[in-house]
Amino acid sequence: MKTQPRPAPRRQRWRRQKGALFAFLAAVALLLGVAVVTALIISTGVNSWQLVAMHATARTGLALSLRSMDVSQSIDGRRTFPFVTAAQVESNSQAAALGMQQGDALPHLLGRPVFSSSDVWQWVEDMPAETTALPLAWVPKAETLIGSLKAEPIPGQAGKFVIKVSKVNPGSPAEQAGLQADDVLKSAGGIPIEGARQAWQAIVIAAQRGQSPVTLTVERAGQTLELALQAERRGELPLSRNAWDAVVEFVTHLDEPRYPEHAGLASAVLGSIYVVLVTALIAVPLGLGAAIYLEEYASRNALTEVLQVVIANLAGIPSVVYGIIGLEILARVLNLGRSILAGGLTLGLLILPIMIIAAREALRAVPQWVREAAYGVGATRWQVVRHHVLPYALPGVLTGMILSLSRGIGEAAPLILLGAFLFVTYLPSSLLDTFTIVPLQIFSWATKPQPGFNTIAAAAIIVLLAMLLLMNAVAIWLRNRYQKRW
């Protein structure tokens, strides 16, 4: 008996190192995955959590808006002073019951100055869980606080005005402080008063800087007086910080261009569902049909070889390119416009090659002996496919379909090119309606500068991921439930 030739030492070393190399690559892939998930949790999870506080605040009837006051000479090195007003106070709301009106300012939350709406939401978010009321201070709007003011130009000084009280609102804090008509307002809490509207803003900023009451410097008949203006009122708003309510409101409300706490995802979610249904309707029959033809019927010849290469290449084409196809052929030539139908068909074309490839893999996984067995008892090709190959491949086919649909639902680029809207305040009701989808809504919100929109963009990302995870979970369930083991 001959002895076995020993493998060369170099080969042996490679065989040992190969294992280590693959282990290393797997570890890198795993780390990358963990990093992505962590980044996602940090960037969207933490961000989106403020949604609960936003909706709790909004539920009291307030919609917050960011304003700012400008002065001609810098105070403490700044000339612009941001503050927050109640841009909307819903009637019959808790805020209205407290006496708040549209246009009132929120200078501080019991000592903590409010420079931005997100300061309010952050405060609400940071409140201990058992707290159910938000104590706050607000400065009534100018008409309520004072009455009416007028600006008179100073002769010889362009752009400079004398701010005079034309009417003091009876019963207003200004009247109580002793302000009279024809008084000239000079400054509030050290902030010069330079405009009729800016006068009230100066009072708000003074309150924001902690003055209570606000010292109002006025000129009356050549004399300078200092009046103590009780500018702010205080009260408590009942708060319910229910996360589930916030999520439900978020996904059922329509979009809102100004107030992120009122903006919702409803039309985007519905648009996404409609679009993915159209996509499935076009891509599933075509994809499955093509796969069955290529796997079960087509003989191997030059044409099918070319077809395979074309399909593989189509799967690799950037999704934007499909957007151009959708725009030119569907929206313009077929005159479908920016409709759900055009969007769904565009995404259908996009995922068709992926779907064909997935379905072919599933069909190919059905062993040849199953086909032979069926042919052996006198089945036609179609009977073999219909009764055996297709049923056995179905879990795999469905898994592939759902996974490619979930690829489609996350696409934004082709639909941007198609011209899908970024701002939709109605629910689409027919296939020819214009629409938006969740990825576009995210894009739209994420690019807005106002505070709060980044939060709802993050929340929308989580909603989108939840939709994708749901679809993928169904796919995995189907696979595990019905998968055949040969």
Partner: protein, 246 residues
């Protein structure tokens, strides 16, 4: 009944069968023996046009079934397979219930009284007593290997073929299951013409009436089994039977 005339077959450019002419007698068992790669499986699969499922297969010559060339133009291979049933090397029941395994062939061939015919076929395959309580509960894949192969035989018998082709039906089975199948073949030849490929010469001697010895794609010798095993005419046959090669 069934015969081939100068049947040749090519896989692409490679010739696997070379002008094989052979005739199978009604209600007899014919065994095809020969070393691996000699073409016996290819041959049996070409008797019901099963080879056509493999791409790039080309045949020449004739296979006559009841006087009709099954490779002639206009002959539907589906119809051919329906009259010439096949049992494969590896048991290949459908992953469906035992009942459905048989009912499928019956339904697609337009049989009525499916239930009775399922029972009849299972009885013929000596499987009825073992599975009658599990017809709908167990799938074909839940059975043991021997039972699976008998289920495949029953499936082939259910559509009432005239010829039963068996491609090494016992190669994946243990001796006890093999013995059962061999007994069954003895029963089946009363009603069917049986062609069996086997690697096992003892098996060929036990079950067959006629034996054909293939070597390198050619039919070397064909004759009565007893005579062939006792006094083979061709020295190659003798070498193979006595175990000098193969």
């Amino acid at each position: 009944m069934l015969s081939t005339q100068r049947l040749s077959l090519w896989y692409g450019k490679q010739q696997a069968l070379n002008e094989v002419s052979l005739s199978f007698e009604r209600n007899q068992v014919t065994a095809l023996i020969g070393p691996s790669g000699c073409g016996k499986s290819t041959f049996i699969r070409s008797l019901n046009r099963m080879n056509e499922l493999i791409p790039a297969v080309r045949t020449a010559g004739q296979v006559l079934f009841g006087g009709q060339d099954i490779y002639a133009k206009g002959v539907d291979p589906v119809e051919v397979r329906r009259w010439i049933g096949m049992v494969f090397q590896k048991p290949n029941p459908f992953p469906k219930s035992i009942y459905e395994n048989l009912a499928f062939g019956l339904r697609i061939n337009g049989y009525k009284q499916v239930q009775e015919r399922v029972e009849m076929a299972l009885r013929k395959a000596a499987l009825w007593e073992e599975v009658k309580d599990d017809l709908h509960r167990k799938t074909g894949l839940d059975l043991s290997g021997g039972q699976q192969q008998r289920l495949c035989i029953a499936r082939a018998l259910a559509v009432e073929p005239q010829v039963l082709l068996m491609d090494e039906p016992c190669s994946a089975l243990d001796p006890i299951a093999t013995a059962k199948i061999e007994d069954l073949i003895g029963e089946l030849k009363k009603e069917y013409t049986v062609v069996i490929v086997t690697h096992n010469m003892q098996q060929a001697a036990r079950v067959s009436d006629y034996t054909a010895f293939f070597y390198l794609g050619k039919l070397v010798e064909f004759g009565n089994t007893q005579k062939m095993f006792e006094t083979p005419e061709n020295p190659q046959t003798e070498d193979y039977i006595t175990g000098k090669f193969g």
